[in-house]
Symmetry: C2
Subunit: 331 residues, 2 copies
């Protein structure tokens, strides 16, 4: 090759390099609105359309934040807050009621950049537990505040408490009455799946985040805390590996440290995200636990899996994917 | 070799084989009584002797159970209960006081066989939180109960509550007053190390168990929960890998999922227990966290490490080891 030609090629390479460098980084968000509670026989077309609309609102609000250069932390906060405000989902308003007839709410948020985390459990008068979890992360030296101490912290932070009545919907009161009528003892021995909500996201700066919020189990014992607010169990994010939010029988998720286990399999055994999620759901089935997870990694890969009848879920990314589904066949 | 000689040798081999097979399985227990709080300058010989006696009582009581064929679960329960009842340690009676002047207690227990787990957090009137954690594991379908709901469960199980005054010792009241006098704001921003207690053990049936109990941080916000009652963070046990109990700045342990991470490094990266503990303490130092862990694996190896000035600790096994130590030089 002649010298001038070589020079010309080198110049071309220099000119082209920045063009490759500014290729936009991947963006991705996934959400869930609970697993295992979806009986296809009882799901009317109206119900299905309404759930799908609720999921779409949360998914698109979260994605819009990512698309406008916002953080994954803001995206998962927004997505979860929307589902907390939607009484269809078991979180915030419309959360299931405990044995005393109260909603008792748990939530956690984790920023993979740090990582940092905040969580609250057993709060009864906080409209958006996910926002309080975020305040714990950002405004306190702590990770987890529970019960009245968490509500005290809310007031200290200028968060107005709402009356307990705010959370109680007619549908949840009926569910509680039915649960009490049905073999209460049996139910207590084998807690059923839940309709927890959650979100995971990757933003343009390469940061991962996860958020989960729930009312837990219908007719649960006062003070019972599930996996949602437990870092490593129902919620986990680390920029070095992945972000995970779970939904299902919380006690199984806690004992298996499900969310962190997925990230450990990615980090230590170099599984792909999909393989890690698959492996952990397999282990869950093996122990008799039911539920599902959503996860995203630093490359923007989304993995969603469950061993229950269905899992309300949605996924959207910068490669053009936008899915909302309820059952196994991605419908 | 002649035929009769060969036959004689074979017979000998057959006779000797059972002798090898009945070689007793390894037994091991390790305990801690907190990390980081030990200022050698302030530690009088009387104090040191008293702490060592307290540790010895817990260690030997736990080991005696293992030696008599008891379970690792019973051994760690007994060791932790003894330290809860000893006002020198920050757990049970003599626990540090929160901002409101109350002891607010957290505990968890995990049985590697299953695995099964039980935990309580934010209880204020339960004499032995480790026993209540065990009742949660054995008598409820749940893993974690908090605050008043956990105390309600105690009453349902026939556990008498004690007045809050039971926990308040003169020394802890003075500590709280001093903490309040000192820059309270500064302290709140950087929670100091704690004197949590814990135990891990391997029994003759090859089962691992872990238990941790704490009063948390002096002057802590009401409702603040640290790593001790969080499965995977301050407490973890799985017969397939190891059993761990931690002590230190709980928020760091929660974010790093310290206890489960050690077991994941053993299981997924095939590190030895000592290597895994060393790696996790290195990560803890890297994030600015302070504390230590004790761990035991299924072969009866014990690992104890910390990045604080000291860690009250003890170890005993069926190979004849019996150590009690406070500082790095194993003294």
């Amino acid at each position: 090759m002649s010298r001038p030609k070589l020079l010309a090629l080198l110049c071309l390479a220099v000119v082209c390099a920045p063009a490759r460098a500014v290729e936009p980084p991947p963006l991705a968000i996934a959400i869930h609105g609970g697993a295992g509670v979806i009986d296809p026989a009882k799901m009317t077309p109206q119900h299905a359309a309404s759930y799908r609309a609720g999921l779409a609102a949360a998914l698109d609000a979260g994605y819009a934040i990512l698309e406008h250069g916002g953080s994954s932390l803001d995206a998962v906060t927004a997505a979860v807050r929307i589902m907390e405000d939607d009484p269809q989902f078991n979180a915030g308003r419309g959360a299931v009621l405990n044995h005393d007839g109260d909603a008792e709410l748990d939530a956690a948020i984790m920023d993979g950049h740090g990582p940092r985390a905040g969580a609250v459990a057993g709060v009864r008068r906080v409209r958006n537990p996910i926002e309080l979890a975020r305040l714990v992360m950002e405004k306190s030296p702590h990770v987890l505040l529970v019960a009245e101490g968490a509500e005290e912290f809310a007031l200290e932070q200028g968060v107005a408490l709402v009356p307990r009545e705010y959370f109680r919907t007619e549908a949840r009161v009926r569910e509680l009455e039915e649960a009490r009528r049905q073999a209460g003892e049996l139910k207590a021995a084998a807690p059923g799946p839940t309709g927890t909500v959650g979100a995971v996201a990757l933003d343009g700066a390469g940061h991962l985040a996860a958020a989960t919020s729930t009312g837990g189990l219908t007719d649960k014992h006062r003070g019972r805390v599930g996996d949602s607010p437990i870092v490593g169990a129902g919620t986990y994010a680390d920029d070095d590996s992945c972000a995970v939010s779970g939904t299902g029988q919380g006690e199984f998720f806690i004992r298996q440290v499900v969310a962190f286990d997925i990230c450990a399999l990615v980090l230590y055994r170099h599984l792909t995200l999909a393989q890690a999620v698959h492996e952990v759901i397999r282990k869950l089935r093996h122990t008799g636990g039911e539920g599902g997870v959503i996860a995203v990694d630093r490359a923007g890969n989304i993995a969603m899996d469950f061993n229950s009848v269905g899992m309300f879920r949605g996924a959207r990314d910068s490669r053009g994917r936008r899915d909302i589904a309820m059952y196994r066949d991605a419908q």
